[in-house]
């Protein structure tokens, strides 16, 4: 009887206490866990960025030694990519995909639990290197050999193990998304009726499954070079250090789309809602996502124009890279045409989504400039590149994450967030992010290399401006944390539809959404 009572209990709501979170197989619980982890990692990686900007505030070495500076940039990159952006998107996938396709939960709930719980261990390991002999990794988030093999401290092995754990977690998360999307859609929801967020995540999941094993292979080759006498990346033993860059970027370029495709999805949900008008070209959006995903696998060596590739290789990678502008343009044109003759209102999620379109496109422009091979040999490894990828990742991916959080948190918690504070957070972030990153274009063009702890005097003014923007941006995010926690704890009761222009199955559920999303499949019109 006790067992039966327990089971009944289990099917009607969450277990009590801390074990709920340890053993949970519920997509919403696991989604929340992912989002909290991502937020903690965002603040951790952000704190490292604050230290970087403090050191770069003026010429000279004031706060940290050069080796510590290298550890800061490396850990900042690793934490933001693998700890903040990727888990945050998996959190959104967990929360939203079952609700958007009319399913009760994810297809593989136990694996879901495991794929989350690997991550806290992975990041504890990674962070533990700060306290070990040899120190945290200092070879950049791209960890080029042989700096990361022959010339790296013993803690590199801990880093390798942590990367493996993150990879397992991502691959399992991706398998779960694919299984859910392909098997658990409500009857009548064909693939071409599916919300664009689900489409972007389906494609992202395939990218993850193809790319993460390559990363695992890369770090395993490093491990073999370091300890088992192989010479994959060591010319003295017949290997090639540039091979490392090929395999790394074969993972690394799809990786940037892994971080940005779900952002495209969120923005494609939000803009129609607040323009009160359906997306202009649904089918062309789907084709554009797929085209970008395909192209992402055949352009990797545009990160390597200066490595001494043969000219034919350089030309091919230049042309292929320039092609990405076509489907990316299609997406931006679609968003703008969706706004055209709509009925637009500017709630916080819409503000973040519009800033995304504007600022991501600026990042896209610098991306197009970087694609031009001969010009790239001036830009590459300078602050121009730093500006480029921060534009696509911060006012790109991170703004889309924030837009999504404001958009769906009423559905998650049953409470409206504070709109005034939300707008304040938006304006502080949107202005400071440009003060932070736009001057980086200028210092990069003037000749400032990236990853240097100290710089020549002509770069001083713009670096100071960047640092001030950085501090304001960093502090503004504490406001975001406050708004989110306050909304979880209470607030004005949200309606089921939440937004006037909302569309999609998630808005047919009560707010907050029930523990199991759709226990019977909804009708699809």
């Amino acid at each position: 009887m006790a067992t039966l009572a327990h089971e009944v209990d289990h099917h009607h709501g969450p277990a009590r206490g801390i074990l709920r979170w340890v053993f949970t197989t519920n997509h919403k619980d696991i989604g929340s866990l992912y989002l909290w982890l991502a937020l903690i990692m965002f603040l951790t990686g952000g704190s490292l960025a604050m230290l970087i900007r403090a050191e770069l505030f003026q010429p000279g070495l004031q706060l940290v030694e050069p080796i510590v500076f290298n550890r800061l940039t490396t850990m900042h990159g690793l934490i933001m990519v693998f700890g903040a952006v990727m888990p945050a998107w998996t959190g959104f996938a967990n929360w939203m995909i079952p609700m958007m396709i009319g399913a009760p939960d994810m297809a593989l709930p136990r694996m879901n639990n495991w794929s989350f719980w690997l991550l806290p261990f992975a990041f504890s390991l990674l962070m533990s290197t700060w306290f070990l002999d040899g120190g945290a990794p200092a070879f950049g988030w791209t960890f080029y050999a042989p700096l990361s093999t022959t010339f790296a401290p013993s803690t590199t092995d801990v880093f390798i193990f942590a990367v493996h754990l993150m990879g397992f977690s991502s691959i399992m998360g991706a398998i779960n998304v694919i299984a859910t999307v392909l098997n658990m859609r409500a009857p009548g929801m064909t693939l071409m009726k599916m919300p664009l967020f689900c489409w972007t995540w389906l494609v992202t999941a395939f990218l993850l499954i193809a790319a993460m094993p390559v990363l695992a292979g890369t770090v395993t080759m490093m491990l073999a070079d370091r300890h088992f006498g192989t010479s994959f990346f060591n010319a003295a033993g017949g290997g090639d250090p540039v091979l490392f860059q090929h395999v790394f970027w074969f993972f690394g370029h799809p990786e940037v789309y892994i971080m940005i495709l779900p952002a495209f999805g969120v923005v494609s949900e939000i803009i129609p809602t607040f323009a009160r008008k359906q997306i202009f070209g649904y089918a062309s959006m789907v084709y554009a996502i797929s085209a970008i995903a395909f192209l992402s696998f055949i352009v990797w060596a545009h990160h390597m124009f200066a490595t001494g590739m043969p000219v034919a290789g350089e030309l091919y990678f230049m042309y292929a890279t320039m092609l990405i502008a076509v489907p990316t343009g299609v997406k931006v044109f679609n968003w703008v045409t969706t706004l055209w003759r709509g009925s637009i209102s500017f709630e916080t999620p819409m503000l973040f989504a519009l800033a995304f379109v504007f600022l991501f496109t600026i990042g896209g422009f610098s991306g197009l400039m970087l694609a031009i091979g001969p010009a790239d040999m001036q830009y590459t490894d300078t602050y121009f590149v730093v500006a480029h990828f921060h534009y696509v990742l911060v006012p790109g991916a991170v703004f889309a994450l924030m837009a999504g959080a404001y958009y769906w948190i009423p559905k998650w918690t049953g409470h409206m967030y504070n709109e005034r504070l939300g707008k304040l957070h938006f304006w502080l972030s949107a202005i400071s992010v440009n003060v932070l990153f736009f001057p980086m274009h200028f210092v990069g063009l003037q000749g400032m290399p990236r990853r240097i702890p100290d710089y020549a005097l002509q770069f001083a003014d713009f670096n100071r401006i960047s640092s001030i923007g950085g501090f304001v941006f960093g502090l503004s995010q504490l406001l975001f944390v406050y708004i989110m926690i306050a909304t979880v704890r209470g607030g004005v009761k949200a309606t089921d539809r939440v937004w006037e222009g909302s569309h999609g199955l998630e808005w047919t559920l009560p707010s907050p959404a029930p523990y199991h999303s759709f226990t019977t499949a909804p009708e699809i019109p």
């Binding site: 200066a306 001494g308 931006v332 003759r341 519009l354 197009l368 001969p374 200028f442 290399p449 005097l457």
Partner: protein
């Protein structure tokens, strides 16, 4: 604020490419953002805008796929020509081999028999924790610049002794990675005398930010004068290795060598940055038998950051720096090493 236009015909071509793509981006930006901000203004709900319900228009969608494609082709044509020009290193009048080290550059004039290292100038190194603003060309000054003749096609062959570095002088219009075990090449032809500055552009460890590059382009005559002097200097160093040196001479010279080659890791006070960079003050090697000390400095310690300085320093400098280390930071071995001992130990 803008890209460096540079000093060579090639760098001007790159600059032109940069400006073309920048203007293309600005033009597209004006159209797209114009439409976007017009919509945000004109179709606001607060102004009473009512949403229409149009969607999908094949003509528009085909157009906005084809037009960008055509623009891209227009951009690709000049880019292709420039790239092919950069790869053409034939018919050069001078070949210089550049080798990256943690953290300095070595320049070998392959046909002239001249070879030297180029380090961050001591004035900059001393100012990192002092007053950078007081130093001219802070972090962009070296002890010995690369000197090249003007109006000569110079071929660079670029490699590395340890990790990957990248040799970049913005005014020349390109950067090229220095990869250990491989040789990359590139070229330049500088029309005007002048001093052009750059930095290592690929993260190469602790002092990545402190290995600048200075190229001095001189007229043919000035270059030849410099070359002759450089050769004489090398001869003098060679003969210096054969005479006996006094301890004071060695310590004085050793201090200079130490502050160029050793100070980054072992620090000015000899305390190092343990555990990666051990202290020399009171160390087993620096206060132990002189043979062990010579061996460590000559051959390095594999698997650590300690390089084989036998490859980088001549006998006199090695003898001097070893003598200095044995008699500084509180180490008072009171012995010293002659250049011929180094020669014997090589």
């Amino acid at each position: 604020m803008n890209l460096v236009r540079g000093a060579t015909d090639y760098s001007h071509r790159v600059f032109d490419l940069h400006m073309i793509s920048l203007w293309v981006c600005i033009a597209i930006g004006v159209v797209v953002f114009g439409a976007m901000f017009y919509s945000l203004f004109a179709f606001r709900k607060s102004r009473g805008a009512v949403a229409s319900n149009f969607h999908e228009n094949t003509t528009v969608e085909v157009l906005w796929t084809i037009i960008p494609f055509i623009i891209l082709i227009a951009m690709a044509i000049p880019a292709t020509k420039t790239l092919i020009a950069l790869e053409d290193t034939t018919d050069s009048g001078l070949t210089i081999k550049i080798t990256g080290y943690q953290w300095r550059w070595q320049y070998d004039y392959l046909d002239q028999g001249v070879s030297f290292f180029s380090n961050l100038a001591a004035t900059s190194r001393d100012a990192t924790k002092g007053d950078p603003k007081s130093v001219e060309h802070y972090l962009l000054e070296v002890d010995e610049p690369l000197v090249v003749p003007i109006n000569t096609k110079i071929r660079f062959v670029i490699t590395s002794n340890d990790v990957i570095h990248s040799w970049w002088v913005p005014a020349l219009g390109w950067k090229q990675d220095a990869v250990p075990g491989f040789i990359n090449d590139s070229w330049t032809n500088i029309p005007q005398p002048g001093v052009y500055r750059g930095q290592c552009a690929e993260l190469c460890g602790k002092d990545h930010g402190f290995m600048p590059i200075v190229v001095e382009a001189k007229t043919r005559e000035d270059y030849e004068t410099w070359l002759t002097a450089k050769k004489a200097e090398a001869e003098a160093a060679k003969s210096g290795a054969d005479r006996e040196w006094t301890k004071d001479e060695l310590v004085e010279r050793g201090k200079t060598v130490y502050s160029t080659y050793c100070v980054a890791c072992h620090q000015a006070n000899g305390q190092g940055i343990p555990p990666a960079f051990p202290a020399l003050a009171g160390s087993v090697i620096a206060t132990g038998p002189v043979e062990g000390h010579i061996d460590r400095v000559l051959h390095g310690k594999p698997g650590t950051a300690m390089q084989a300085f036998g490859l980088q320093l001549n006998d006199v400098d090695l003898a001097a720096v070893i003598t200095y280390e044995r008699n500084a930071f509180g180490n008072d071995k009171d012995d010293f090493v002659q250049p011929r001992q180094i020669k014997a130990a090589r």
